[in-house]
Every structure is written in structure tokens, then in C-alpha cells.
Symmetry: C2
Subunit: 228 residues, 2 copies
């Protein structure tokens, strides 16, 4: 598998990088392919949401979900970083999947294989109840596919206690690395150090039931599927 070649270019609008979202380091690893952005976002489970609070950076892990070109972000109405985002402040969201450790013949060329998406924008809090319910559905189905139709839906009080934000997927940078080490020719010729990739995979474990009900099909299906 070569770099940036995991997802063929699809018939989708291109990403619109601005100077700050243009990948400067390792530009050969960046891609402006919207299908790759979707693939990274759909494969991740959590994102890291960064905001500026009182002039200082704050980054926190949080749930997310994608519907078309809208990213939904999730949290309690009391969380500081989400409160900052709610006021219409700029946010930066990263989704990163580590696919392996790249052992090179030199320490300098050691690297990681990964898929990464970084999105810049202004988050907007959803206030319309129907839109909020839709956002929660997207968030829930991203984290736990099948749960929206299986579990009890939110009450009015629960809805009020949950903040749902949207972020347009307009300004984003996608970076991926796959494949073996990029060693210097002299180190390859010297041939004194091993080189290769130790892949890192995510796998589901056996479901740990907290219920005397039969395990539903959507749990069994996920537990036996490969993690993307």
C-alpha cells in the first residue's frame, strides 16, 4: 500500500485549505481528497477538541459524528471547553488513528503510520429541538451503531442537559502515512539495523453483558467485525 492511496478520489467537492490548514510539514503525506477525510472521520471513535479559554489552549477528548459535511460534537452543557465553543469561538478538531510503528535503520527516520484529520472552524450550538435530536442520533450511531433504535431515547430533560455543536467540514487537512521506513541510502547499504513496520490494530473484545436479555444483533455484528 502506498501513501495516500487508501481511498481513490471520489466525485466529491475538494477540501478548501487555507494557509493554516495547508499541511506544510510532510506535504507529500497530505491529501485534499474529501473521501479520505470522510474515511478518517468515519473510522475514528473520538476526537480531540481544542479551544482557547482565557487565552490558553485547552484540548479535551470528546465524541463526534459526521453527517455529510457536518461534524457533530457532543458534551455536557457544563463542560468548559464546550462552553467556549458554544460562544461561537473558533475550534480545532483532530481525529487520529495510529496504524503502526515504523522502525527505520536510523533513529531519525523512525515514524508512525497513521491517518489524521484536522478541522478548523467555528462551532455552532444547536438550539432547535428537532435538529438537536438529529445531531444526537448522528453522535449515538457513530459511537454505538444500532443503539438509537434499541435504547430508550432522550427525555426533554436529558436533551436539555446535552450540548450538541455543529462544525462545517469546510477547512480541513488530511494526512496519512502508510508503508515501510524511508531510510537514507547509506543506511540501507550499511545493512546493520533491522527495519520494518509493527502494525497496530484495534479489535473488539468479547461483549461484557450487563443484562439478562439476549445480546442484540447489532452488538454481535460489531463485536465480530474488523475495526476500521
Amino acid at each position: 500500500m502506498t501513501e495516500n492511496n487508501r481511498h481513490p478520489a471520489a466525485d466529491l467537492p475538494p477540501l478548501s485549505p487555507t494557509p493554516r490548514s495547508t499541511v506544510k510539514r510532510g506535504a507529500h503525506r497530505s491529501t485534499a481528497d474529501r473521501a479520505t477525510l470522510y474515511a478518517v472521520l468515519d473510522a475514528g471513535l473520538i476526537c480531540h477538541l481544542s479551544t482557547v479559554v482565557d487565552g490558553s489552549p485547552v484540548v479535551l477528548p470528546t465524541g463526534y459524528g459526521r453527517d455529510g459535511d457536518t461534524l457533530y460534537l457532543h458534551g455536557s452543557t457544563g463542560a468548559r471547553s464546550l462552553r467556549a465553543a458554544m460562544t461561537g469561538m473558533e475550534v480545532c478538531v483532530a481525529v487520529t488513528l495510529v496504524d503502526g510503528v515504523v522502525y527505520a535503520r536510523s533513529v531519525f527516520h523512525h515514524s508512525m503510520n497513521y491517518r489524521s484529520a484536522v478541522i478548523h472552524g467555528t462551532a455552532t450550538q444547536i438550539t432547535d429541538p428537532d435538529a438537536k435530536l438529529h445531531g444526537l442520533r448522528v453522535l449515538t450511531e457513530h459511537m454505538a451503531p444500532g443503539s438509537w433504535d434499541h435504547a430508550r431515547l432522550p427525555t426533554t430533560k436529558e436533551l436539555a442537559a446535552t450540548a450538541v455543536l455543529t462544525l462545517d467540514l469546510a477547512e480541513a487537512a488530511v494526512k496519512t502515512r502508510a508503508g515501510g521506513p524511508g531510510d537514507d541510502e547509506e543506511d540501507i547499504v550499511a545493512n546493520v539495523a533491522w527495519a520494518g513496520v509493527l502494525p497496530l490494530r484495534r479489535v473488539w473484545g468479547e461483549p461484557e453483558s450487563d443484562s439478562d436479555l439476549d445480546q442484540p444483533a447489532h452488538i454481535t455484528a460489531r463485536a465480530t467485525a474488523a475495526v476500521r
Copy 2:
């Protein structure tokens, strides 16, 4: 396994949370145990480094390593976010490990099991060559244990092209969640939706050799070990 009980309190100085690093949401999931902070940092592979660039938040995945109460951060001298951190600006670093998806009987109580550390501070760039070499060793051994003694060490030119930053582990918040769903009593009694945990594990795949040399022992040992 109950919450916050993965790592017994050790004979270590407590964390020193300030208002911004004091966990407000889900405070029952926070811990001021330095041993737990160490365990989370030692188990992660990458961190998310957040800085403020031109007033806007920027978050990027990057490598790190820990030596005592010093976190080393790694990157190219050309990376914008690292350049921002180098000027003595405040940074925020998150290391997050997702351990599973918590399926509750209600959508509202769906959750994740995770281990998370968020560190606030001012990063300092290392200029002393010996200190920088030590930092690179810590970073390399975190990402690829055994590589420092196996692979070719950095040249003066390679050293110059690499920025190594330090961040004191003084102001940090650690949050963990483990165990089953925290459903409402009514939903448990109703007993109409399955609940439980789908654990997510990380496993090493088979090493993909790029070399005709025998696979060294430090690779074999890691490939056959459990990922923390």
C-alpha cells in the same frame, strides 16, 4: 474493575490541579493520583498537542515520551504548532486511550471507557545538545523501545532538524472510566434494552520486515506482548 481503581496510589507527590485543570464534569471519574498519570502517559503512543496560533486553537497529533516528571515533545523545527510552543507559549497536551464503548439502556447514558490525561503548561525548547540527545532517547524509546541501542543514532545535522520540547508534569488532570453502564433505576427495572460494554483493545500485528536481517529480540518481544 471499578472506576479510578486501576492503579493504587503510590508514594508520589500529588498532582497540583489549578481551576482550569480541575475536572468539573464527572468529577467522580477524576483522580489526583500521579501514578495513574504516569500509567496513562506510559500506555499511550501519541499525544494531541494544542497551542494558540494567531489567536486560534491548533491541535496536532505528535510523539512524546516521559522521564520522571518531564514530558518530552517531538517534532520538526518547521512545524507551526511546535514553533508556537517554542516561543514559550502555553500548551495543552492530551493523551487518551479508548478502552470500550458502554452501551446503556438509554441513549443518554451511553458512554466510553477510557483513560485520559490532560496537561497544561509552558513548553521549553531544549538547546543543550546533550539534553536534546537525552530527550530524543526518551522519545524514541517511548515509540520504539530498543531502537536507541539498535538503530543508527542522529547526526549533528539530524539533531539540528529536530525540535525537542519539555513540559513539566505539574498541572495535570487525569480521568478514567471503566466498568458497565450507569443506567437509571427505571430503565434497569423496565429491562427492555440490552446493556453492556464492548471492549476495544489494541494489538500488535505481525511485524512487516523491510530487511534481510533477522528480526531483533526487541521487535519480537513487543510484537508478542499485550498493548497496554
